[in-house]
């Protein structure tokens, strides 16, 4: 923080909060647009909506951590020890969503069992 002046850091904070606000409004408008609230009959595919929302939220998280929490100005060792462990979550998200999906199909199979025929040999 020491290498930039007070005025510079003030300007940077104002710029960051404006970007965060614009992204948030953009996200909400995009969600409403994609679900047909703004233009009637207009829908966007679910996977595209989800992808855009997740990328925009990740960018918001980056701004909050790097600008507001000053991660940008910490030494690399501190950045790595804090941020690298969170990479485990990538695996956790994929694994548990896949697991949830599996529960869903299992439950559906219990309600409507797939009938299999056993062919008896002679």
């Amino acid at each position: 923080m020491s290498h930039i002046t007070y005025e510079e850091s003030k300007g940077l904070a104002t710029k960051t909060i404006l970007v965060l606000a614009v992204i948030t409004v953009g996200e909400v408008l995009f969600a409403l647009l994609g679900k047909g609230y703004l233009v009637s009959g207009f829908h966007l595919p679910h996977i595209l909506m989800g992808g855009v929302m997740i990328i925009l939220s990740a960018y918001k998280a980056y701004l909050i951590i790097y600008e507001f929490m000053h991660m940008k100005y910490e030494v690399p060792g501190l950045v790595k020890t804090v941020l690298f462990p969170t990479l485990l979550l990538v695996w956790a998200v994929i694994a548990f969503l896949a697991e949830g999906n599996y529960w869903n199909t299992s439950r559906a199979n219990v309600k409507n069992p797939v009938k299999t025929e056993v062919v008896k040999g002679h």
Partner: protein
């Protein structure tokens, strides 16, 4: 690397009597308190991630899930059908309080006591406003819409159909709906009164069915996760108050460390905002 540092007399003396292992030097050029705040926040991030991942797994494990822009569409003053408006206001309040916190930390760096107190007070107001909004949101969900941690009146249609209006012998066809639309089952005299509808498409076409309650886990997940976040905001406000009072009485002036305590609570406060970004994403946007 080692020869570089050993050229300094201070480091030489330091290395001879045990170096970093004897303390006195700051790992990662951050103070103990700040470093530990970072690691606490890392562990807290894992706690929140655990909850949000559980939410994702349970959401994927049922065929339908309440549509968020239907569930969260009320606004104070008796307004309805304003999807996501109120929660956007809440997000803005929290973002604004994050900005005022940044300003408080910046004033602290230049040892400006009045600036620190002023911006911290604004941050506290922001935190309290957010909590007020959440209280209103919970009151509406529990009191008017009768959602609880065990009951979820928000269901979602899986077929196209038309509502059957009226009772007894005078049954007319009312509003139509399509698969994927959510509905709220209202209560009459303390009991849920699900509407009847006729399926108009698919293998069950022509059959009259009744609205079903939505996935049970929705209420428990919503109240528990937003409640856990709200509890973080509440304790954050408490710590902000204590540190603001300390700053106002001039305690940190004597320490001459650029109001480091303000910086630490600032880290916590931004983390609360960071978590909200993901709660907002999972519950309201997706």
């Amino acid at each position: 690397m080692a020869s570089d540092t050993l050229t300094h007399d201070h480091d030489l003396a330091h290395a001879q009597d045990g170096g970093s292992w004897k303390g006195g030097s700051e790992p990662f050029k951050a103070s103990y308190g700040k470093l530990m705040m970072w690691y606490f926040l890392l562990s807290d991030a894992f706690t929140f991630s655990g909850f949000l991942i559980a939410y994702g797994a349970l959401r994927f494990s049922v065929p339908t899930w309440p549509v968020p822009d239907f569930v969260f569409s009320t606004f104070p003053g008796g307004l309805h059908h304003k999807p996501l408006l109120f929660v956007t206001v809440m997000t803005f309040i929290l973002l604004a309080s994050s900005f005022t916190m940044v300003r408080a930390v910046q004033e602290g760096h230049r040892e400006n006591k009045n600036g620190v107190v002023f911006w911290m007070l604004l941050t506290i107001v922001g935190g309290l406003a957010f909590l007020g909004c959440q209280a209103w949101e919970w009151t509406t969900l529990m009191g008017e819409e009768h959602m609880s941690i065990t009951t979820n009146p928000f269901g979602t249609h899986t077929e196209n159909g038309v509502y059957m209006m009226g009772d007894g012998h005078d049954i007319k066809e009312g509003d139509t709906f399509t698969a994927g639309q959510s509905y709220l089952i209202h209560q009459h005299d303390g009991k849920f009164a699900p509407l009847q509808y006729k399926v108009t498409e698919g293998p069950d076409a022509g059959i009259v069915k009744e609205q079903q309650l939505g996935p049970k886990a929705f209420g428990a997940l919503f109240f528990f996760i937003t409640g856990f976040h709200g509890f973080h905001v509440l304790s954050g406000v408490a710590f902000l108050l204590i540190i603001c009072l300390n700053a106002a009485t001039g305690l940190y002036v004597k320490r001459k460390n650029g109001y480091e305590m303000v910086e630490k609570i600032g880290l916590y406060w931004h983390f609360v905002d960071l978590v909200w970004v993901f709660v907002f994403l999972c519950f309201y946007l997706l």
